[in-house]
Symmetry: C2
């Protein structure tokens, strides 16, 4: 796919930094970020002015080859995008806005200069879209696997920040968008990789991805829900907010643990789109399990009072009520379509359990 393959050892770490600096030194629509950056990636550390009166929000998330991504079906441009966006999503869950980022890459020998440029092109596209500047990081060699570790600094007014500990019994528990599509997309990618590995004549191989495009997109290039978090920040008061990185079930447990509450989630309320249902059917699996345990959705799970929900409902069509926050003593219940109540399994996608 790459036209050229320049070994990083041919230009060294500092040569590589020069090659990527044009990709990260972008001009943003919100020029205050450019103006308040005093020193970017060309010194020991980056220096910037915080916005007076605002608090800083710091988050780090890493993507590791073999654990979070497979380069046989993940383009470097998508990897760069996703590494930024999973961090932006954490900032969205706190109702902040991203400002500055540091990107640390650990690169095995197979990764060329051109591949690193592809990755930064994707990272930079995400930064341009969601107003963030890459101002630092580290680039090192790696013996085996590739690793992308990103730290993002965001800002918010202190009273606007939302936490997973903010839920109160009686509130609705809601989610943005649809769930399950990310893991559904991953399953398609893995199936095509499997098919590809079994074919002897490569000319015969035509990957069958087109019909699944929206699910693949959800997996490869997720979007942080700043559209929803900006409503929370300016128009509607919410309780707890968390982003769905490990799966709905795991995040419900996090909100309940953080807030000291229980919850009741109704199976028939979980928003799963028709493509995800179709993919689950192809694998003879449950689309609801995809939603509960799949993860990597980057939708927002939140709690809200009835009165505030009525306001929210007039501002967006893209949220669903899943159930209610309850007293802690009631536990965390999952009510099946047939009305039977069971305990919601806490399991999410834990890479330590599955390795």
């Amino acid at each position: 796919m790459q036209q050229n393959h320049t070994e990083i050892s041919a230009i060294g770490e500092f040569g590589l930094i020069r090659r990527i600096s044009d990709l990260v030194n972008i001009r943003l629509d919100d020029q205050s970020l450019n103006d308040n950056l005093i020193m970017g990636i060309s010194d020991d550390a980056a220096v910037y002015r915080p916005t007076p009166g605002k608090v800083q929000i710091l988050t780090s998330d890493a993507l590791i080859e073999g654990i979070h991504f497979d380069l046989t079906f993940m383009a470097l441009k998508h990897l760069g995008w996703k590494a930024m966006v999973i961090n932006f999503s954490d900032i969205a869950a706190m109702c902040g806005t991203p400002r500055y980022a540091a990107v640390t890459l650990s690169l095995p020998k197979k990764i060329s200069v051109e591949m690193v440029e592809e990755l930064y092109a994707g990272a930079s596209a995400a930064c341009k879209k969601f107003s963030c500047l890459i101002v630092g990081g580290d680039t090192t060699a790696s013996m085996a696997n590739m690793m992308v570790s990103v730290t993002v600094i965001g800002e918010a007014e202190e009273r606007q920040v939302t936490y997973r500990g903010g839920a109160k019994a009686g509130e609705y528990i809601c989610v943005s968008g649809h769930l399950g599509a990310s893991v559904a997309g991953l399953k398609i990618l893995k199936r095509e990789k499997e098919r590809f590995s079994k074919i002897s004549d490569l000319r015969e191989f035509k990957p069958n991805l087109e019909p699944y495009a929206p699910a693949l997109e959800k997996h490869l290039t997720p979007k942080p829900r700043f559209d929803i978090s900006s409503i929370f920040r300016e128009r509607v008061k919410v309780g707890a907010v968390i982003d769905i990185s490990d799966g709905l079930a795991s995040e419900v447990h996090h909100i309940c643990a953080g807030s000291g509450v229980g919850a009741e989630i109704y199976e028939h309320n979980i928003p799963v789109d028709s493509l995800t249902q179709r993919i689950a059917a192809e694998f003879s699996e449950s689309p609801v399990d995809y939603a509960l345990f799949g993860g990597e959705e980057y939708e927002l799970l939140f709690t809200i009072s009835d009165a505030e929900y009525a306001k929210l409902d007039r501002l967006t069509n893209d949220v669903s009520i899943l159930g209610r926050v309850t007293e802690k003593e009631k536990g965390i219940g999952f009510i099946r379509e047939n009305g039977e109540r069971e305990a919601l399994a806490p399991g999410g996608w834990d890479h330590f359990k599955t390795r």
Copy 2:
């Protein structure tokens, strides 16, 4: 060495976070850091109040198994210390003070819960000593190598920040401490590992490390030079400042490139202690090459006017004049003990070149 070996998969990512949270939630002497931390490691992101009027300093540095460290001779406690301190050193080079940090770990299966606790004990000891709070990060599995990626946020008054671009022709170029000991220590560790691997009866093996303790300490548990940077901040005006992570030669080139100047460095001025000279002699190598190209010193290289140097000289004995900043046209010269002038090789420790 470890008494217990609990597999991380037995307690999962969230169980691991609970086990380490006591190690990172420390009370600092400077309690303003504790007081201004609004949310630590238990939410999507950390939230803190910046100090009004100060600028923020952001730096990231990673340590990768097989590239930067070898677990056969690096204790996890030392690794945790060093991962923090190499970032603190970047903050010192900007004349800032550390505030908050995010630690991202990527852990292969061989790493137990107890080993992660050891690592955090070392990181926490560094944080306690140099006043920083770990407030976030990410913990993931890894297929092969271990990785520690740290981001530190520091603060300074805007006018106090020092850059590598601040050197002017005519200034002295100086360095703190002594050079070459870190790579000398590493060579001893590698030699003992080699000896160990060749011995058939393990009872016969007694590592010979005691006589080299100061060099090993310099390599395994380096100290950031906040003692020197606080003098720069409060008492003495300096030009350019950079920390020596890649080797003296490489850092001189960075200052010259950043400031648009040249330099003359005198071989006989390079401070190398007697232990480093002894170790270099054991390997029939040049101690000056250790100083020029060894790296991982975490001393401060800086430029300063004659008048300010006179002030500095009364405040510390631990700095040496290496030479002079010159006009750019003069290039970057290295004057040998015999008086011959050569161009200073730009080479430092570039892990992409040596892998």
